[in-house]
């Protein structure tokens, strides 16, 4: 970790303080998250470039939500990753490990240097996350449609214990074609799991084509409402809009689905909105261009 002052405060006591006591104004918090997101994007892309594999399109679309969660909204202690009172995060679109691992390293769960082992033989940093090898990972994902049911289980445990931790899960949008999500959606709506927030990374592209050309998801907001959820649609790259939705400042009586409209490959001009960059790998020239664009 090069500059300690850039690291987020991870004191649970501080994070647990009433939000009104958070000194920094929204713009300042957003600027901090944006700095972190820029770092995560660049690091994730370097991981993919060096490993010669990965899923850069989905890494880049989910980065701003991840950064908002880890560098402002969530309470956690990287030195004590299984503290019972922690907020939980599950990356259900488990292939976006470039973004996840970069975020976890920046958040202090493991040394940044370890990111260079991404997908190398015997590395803990598998293409999909393993909770028994990487601190901060809550459940092993990779096959789609697994994260939300597990998040629902955690949220039920929190409800039974009247605990104040919150549970966050990011799914891809194409991932919502998996039926297990809708089983979990019904349970969450029925049990009014107000401690649960789902963020749908709505970049409108799945592996091979647009979601709407493959099996249409729209009207997506109406689907979640019908399942008993609050639904908010937001620009998934607008940190100032994401912050109040994720920081717990709005109390709810049911689970929240944030449809985060995002751009697959966000920040790299030649990747943006191109399905082919779902698991494309840049060549040296493309990588150099991308790193320049991501400095901005």
């Amino acid at each position: 970790m090069s500059d300690a002052q850039e690291r987020p405060s991870t004191s649970l006591a501080e994070r647990a303080a009433p939000l009104a006591e958070r000194a920094a104004p929204l713009a300042e918090r957003a600027a901090h998250v944006r700095d972190m997101a820029r770092w995560v994007r660049r690091r994730a892309l370097r991981m993919v470039f060096e490993a010669r594999q990965g899923h850069p399109g989905g890494d880049l679309s989910a980065t701003d939500v991840l950064a908002t969660l880890y560098f402002d909204a969530m309470r956690y202690d990287p030195a004590n990753p299984r503290l019972p009172t922690r907020d939980r995060f599950i990356l259900s679109k488990g292939h976006a490990t470039g973004a996840l691992y970069s975020t976890l390293a920046k958040a202090g769960y493991f040394p940044e240097e370890q990111l260079s082992t991404y997908m190398q033989p015997l590395s803990a940093l598998n293409g999909h996350p393993n909770r028994n090898k990487i601190p901060g990972v809550e459940t092993n994902t990779g096959p789609l449609g697994h994260g939300l049911p597990v998040a629902v289980g955690i949220a039920i445990a929190g409800q039974i214990d009247a605990a104040d931790y919150r549970v966050f899960v990011i799914t891809g949008d194409g991932e919502l074609q998996e039926g297990s999500n809708w089983e979990a959606a019904m349970t969450a709506g029925h049990r009014k799991l107000s401690n649960l927030t789902l963020i749908v990374d709505r970049n409108r592209l799945q592996q091979g084509a647009s979601t709407e050309d493959t099996v249409a998801l729209d009207p997506l907001d109406a689907k979640w409402r019908a399942f008993g959820w609050d639904v908010v649609e937001v620009d998934g790259h607008d940190i100032e809009a994401l912050l109040p939705l994720l920081d717990g400042s709005i109390s709810r009586d049911r689970p929240l689905c944030i449809i985060a409209n995002t751009v697959k490959g966000k920040g790299v001009s030649y990747m943006e909105n191109k399905a082919s960059w779902h698991h494309g790998v840049p060549n040296a020239e493309q990588f150099e261009q991308a790193m320049k664009e991501l400095e901005a």
């Binding site: 019972p84 939980r88 393993n130 909770r131 028994n132 809550e138 459940t139 092993n140 994902t141 990779g142 096959p143 449609g145 697994h146 939300l148 049911p149 597990v150 998040a151 629902v152 289980g153 955690i154 949220a155 039920i156 445990a157 929190g158 039974i160 214990d161 605990a163 039926g179 297990s180 089983e183 979990a184 019904m186 349970t187 029925h190």
Partner: protein, 317 residues
């Protein structure tokens, strides 16, 4: 079910031992929760629900979600007993069992109710004769197949006491209480020798163990001393007990499960690579027709007389 109530014949439904144990554990430890797929009745969990209403989580008819929710409850510090008909709990949710429970090493206890051919008349969709094969190949989940009420209680207690995923295969077919010394101990990974003998070995588990004991009695009367080994712990399995059994020169395995991938296969994997001996694997050859559980067991040769005949054929062959 067309057969008479088990208790009427001095037989027991192991679901009763399961729920009684779970209620006792639940009274002592509020981390114990039960998760069901609309299966409160078939899992006999009405009593648990009445005692601990907030700790009975019914996710409806949604098995993939049920197993994922169980893993999530474990993450939240609970000891989740996820109960459902074994055919759906394992088959419908196999990837959740693999990724969320076994690979994640979640502290989840999966209880497969009415396993094997208990739902005989309902047909192969409801038979669960593949479950042990599916789960034991994962390696990272403990697989237990208790044979009677005492062993069911011990298996549930052992599952609750250990940290990690466990599958307990629970029958509803009537079984007698097996004769055991008062100081008998159940241990995961350890086989139980219920009858001594060095002429051959019968290795069985679940509902077939009582039949294996009957077979041994029949064989003893004919001068053949067959060892009866109860292999409740399928994963991890007691390799030493299997290698000792191989020294008799003849092993018959018998299980209320497919002959592909279950107990017989597990024993053969070990014997064939160490001390090969003659073997006969008794179980179901594939999808079964309709019929009562007893009818299907008899038809597949899982009767005391056929187990005895199989031993004789190996010993005299």
């Amino acid at each position: 079910m067309s057969s008479p109530a088990p208790q009427a014949q001095g037989l027991f439904d192991c679901r009763d031992a399961y729920v009684k144990t779970l209620e006792a554990l639940g009274a002592d430890d509020d981390r114990i929760v039960a998760v069901v797929n609309d299966s409160v009745g078939s899992s006999k969990l009405g009593g648990f629900r009445d005692k601990f209403p907030t700790r009975l989580i019914n996710v409806g008819i949604a098995e993939q979600n049920m197993v994922g929710v169980g893993a999530g409850l474990a993450n939240g510090g609970k000891i989740a007993f996820v109960s459902g008909a074994s055919c759906f709990l394992t088959g419908r949710s196999l990837e959740q069992v693999k990724a969320d429970c076994a690979y994640s090493q979640a502290n989840v206890k999966l209880c497969g109710i009415s396993s094997g051919v208990a739902y005989g008349e309902l047909g192969p969709t409801h038979h669960s004769i593949e479950d042990v094969a599916w789960l034991r190949t994962m390696g990272d989940i403990t697989v237990l197949v208790p044979a009677d009420p005492w062993e069911t209680e011990q298996a549930i207690r052992a599952a609750a006491a250990m940290d990690g995923p466990v599958f307990v295969r629970i029958s509803r077919m009537g079984v007698p209480a097996l004769p055991r010394p008062a100081d008998a101990v159940f241990e995961i990974g350890k086989a139980e020798v219920l009858h001594q003998g060095n002429d051959a070995a019968i290795i069985a588990n679940g509902t077939v163990v009582c039949r294996a004991l009957e077979a041994a009695a029949e064989l003893a009367a004919q001068g053949i001393n067959a060892r009866v080994i109860n292999m409740a712990s399928m994963s991890p399995i007691d390799e030493a007990a299997i290698l000792e059994a191989a020294k008799t020169g003849a092993i018959v395995t018998a299980e209320e499960h497919s002959v592909r991938g279950g107990l017989g296969s597990a024993v053969a994997e070990i014997v064939s690579q160490n001390t090969p001996c003659r073997m006969k694997i008794l179980g179901f050859a594939g999808f079964q027709p309709t019929g009562s559980a007893e009818f299907l067991m008899e038809r597949a040769g899982l009767s005391a007389s056929n187990i005895a005949a199989s031993v004789r054929a190996l010993v005299q062959g």
